[in-house]
Symmetry: C2
Subunit: 392 residues, 2 copies
């Protein structure tokens, strides 16, 4: 064993690219590729948000800021969440450590260590379990199932997966990447009750909270959790305001950990990029709600294009997403989703994500993001159907 | 024990604010305070760098980029490091995960887990050991000592602190925050030899590499390490180009871990802020070297102001920094550096950092950053001397 090998943690040395990374790394930057593989559209962040960051740069806002988040940003987030959910929120529970992904890392590092057990509702974004495994945790999956063209989660299965006195945390992403499933409000309450009773921390990944196709916002654990309940809500600007490259997200932690959250934010990324935070403030300002609604309507139309092109195809089982902006169809006759996606990329220049990477039971699925502008989305789907017809 | 308490890791629950955080949180945002407490000046990032980020925002560069860093940025960094150190560097070893602090987190998470032992050259920035303790590691300090007005590190002590078969890593920050000590090139070689032999990973924190008062760059482990040597070099844009708020740093890892670094960058922060990376590219471009030199000359003059105001004072033992941009004087008669800094802030509106937080043996020290514009720096020092004369 080399010196370097001897020094590295097994959890690091064993890291592998996710299925998304394996496909993207083959075609990133190729202008001919129509990319449906990652969770973003192809329209830049709306101008009022960019303008705020540009003005901050012009004004010289390039210094360190408060690591838990610039005061105006935290105040704006507090007001946003209070208004959205009809709650009162102590801003000491709010942190903007960097990206939403970094917020998830904070949540995981607050709770999980080597040997711990965590339950993950799946299908799930692969990065989530990578972070948990990097922390040395053992993951049990509880899978949503498709019934009558929609996704459902059986709470009895969830309850069975929680090992009394052993399981430390439960991860739920609603609206769900990749299925578009939304946990109903009644189930949010039941899951919270269960986790209180079993002494399990809920990692509530709510980053798609505004990407819903009925109503204005998905049910949130923040609506029902008391400040001392075991809930960490993870959220961010990427999906509702088209701000993926900004690396700007937040978490709401249980009350009583202001000092720890401040120090953790300091020693992790020392906060988000200072001038990018002005974009977040603008997103939560007067222009923000129209941006959220316009993007959502565009994504809703995107799914109609998906339905038009893929619905009713004999090889394609399409489920209706309630939120997020992905379709996660099952393809009849598919058993190697990675080979399928790589070949689709090569032959048709369409980028998709292979189902296997979203947890067990998904090897016959692919994920495609329908946030793209509609002409390109339509063209990509035409190519996908052509490819399916040729190979399945 | 509450449900939340039962769920949290002890390493998180026990986090405390650093001494810097304790002082800054008392006075951040107060326009009357002259801040010498954190590692930055008061002049915004030079315009050519800001302009590049503004143009990127105008052009709509707000999407996800490659998590290990935008291609042009990685290529520019490779060229910069090759030119600077006269080496050849495989760009697959280079990662831009977000801030320099985040790069340090990557390095620590690559190596250290609960129960591991790490040796830290001290005095050291408190965030460094916070990250290690958050990972569950045990820290042994080896302290530089002052001789004839300068700081020195006794390598025999370093060797003694490394426990054969137990110690996993050694952290060296050169040029050093807070002392300004620079490890001589001959010692860099000896330490590398020692770590090869003892199978210990070197965390080489080189973020002040261009903040040197003689020559152009400090000796680096990259100059002497082979690709398979146990060295992780951590660096960033904050200090040499005045880019603290950008959260843009990098690390150079041993060869052979491209996939792991890519996946780790993806699941940590999914890369640095996309449009901020264009600022990094500009910093490494034509305008960059003049910026580095001009800032360095300004900081050198800053130390001359410190010498003029503090040198020869009967209560102040001032050591000559060779690099970085801090003075770390010992104050005769001081035994509670935190109380001193808080009272100095209250009475004189000068922000400094208490010595105790930089590791054992520093309770009679304070740290002050002399990167500030010279008039303000001079005024702050006048106030400091007045305070010392009144209280010590």
């Amino acid at each position: 064993m080399s010196v370097v090998e001897a020094c590295l943690r097994a959890e690091f040395a064993q890291l592998e690219l996710s299925g998304i990374g394996k496909v993207v790394s083959r075609g990133f930057g190729d202008p001919d590729v129509l990319p449906l593989w990652v969770g973003e559209g192809d329209v830049a962040t709306p101008w009022p948000i960019r303008k705020a960051a540009i003005e901050a740069l012009e004004a010289g806002e390039t210094f360190y800021d408060i690591p838990v988040g610039r005061r105006e940003l935290v105040t704006a987030l507090q007001a946003y969440l209070e208004r959205l959910y009809g709650i009162e929120l102590d801003p000491a529970r709010l942190v903007v450590p960097g990206s939403t992904m970094l917020a998830l890392n904070v949540a995981v590092d607050m709770v999980l260590e080597k040997g711990d057990h965590v339950v993950v509702v799946t299908p799930h974004w692969p990065n989530v379990t990578s972070v948990m495994r990097l922390a040395g945790a053992e993951v049990t999956h509880v899978r949503q199932e498709a019934r009558a063209g929609r996704w459902h989660l059986d709470l009895a299965k969830l309850e069975q997966a929680i090992r009394p006195g052993v399981t430390k945390a439960l991860y739920v992403n609603s609206p769900c990447n990749p299925t578009g499933w939304i946990m109903p409000a009644a189930d949010v309450r039941r899951v919270l009750d269960l986790c209180r009773e079993r002494r399990v921390m809920v990692f509530a990944d709510e980053v798609y909270h505004r990407n819903v196709f009925a109503g204005d916002v998905a049910p949130s654990f923040l609506e029902v959790a008391a400040p001392d309940d075991p809930v960490i809500s993870i959220n961010g600007f990427s999906k509702a305001w088209a701000m993926t490259g900004w690396r700007l997200g937040w978490l709401v932690a249980p009350a009583g950990y202001r000092t720890q959250l401040a120090e953790f934010s300091t020693v992790l990324n020392t906060g988000a990029t200072s001038f990018a935070q002005f974009g977040g403030i603008a997103a939560l300002g007067d222009a923000g709600e129209a941006i959220v609604r316009d993007l959502r309507e565009s994504y809703r139309q995107g799914f109609e294009i998906v339905r038009h092109r893929l619905g009713g195809h004999p090889k394609i089982e399409l489920r209706e997403p309630e939120g997020a902006f992905y379709a996660f169809p099952k393809l009849r006759g598919l058993d190697d989703s990675l080979a399928f996606c790589l070949k689709l990329l090569e032959e048709e220049k369409v980028g998709t994500a292979p189902g296997y990477t979203f947890g067990p039971g998904n090897a016959a699925h692919i994920r495609l993001c329908f946030a793209m502008s509609h002409d390109k989305l339509d063209e990509a789907l035409v190519r996908l159907v052509r490819f399916v017809d040729r190979h399945l």
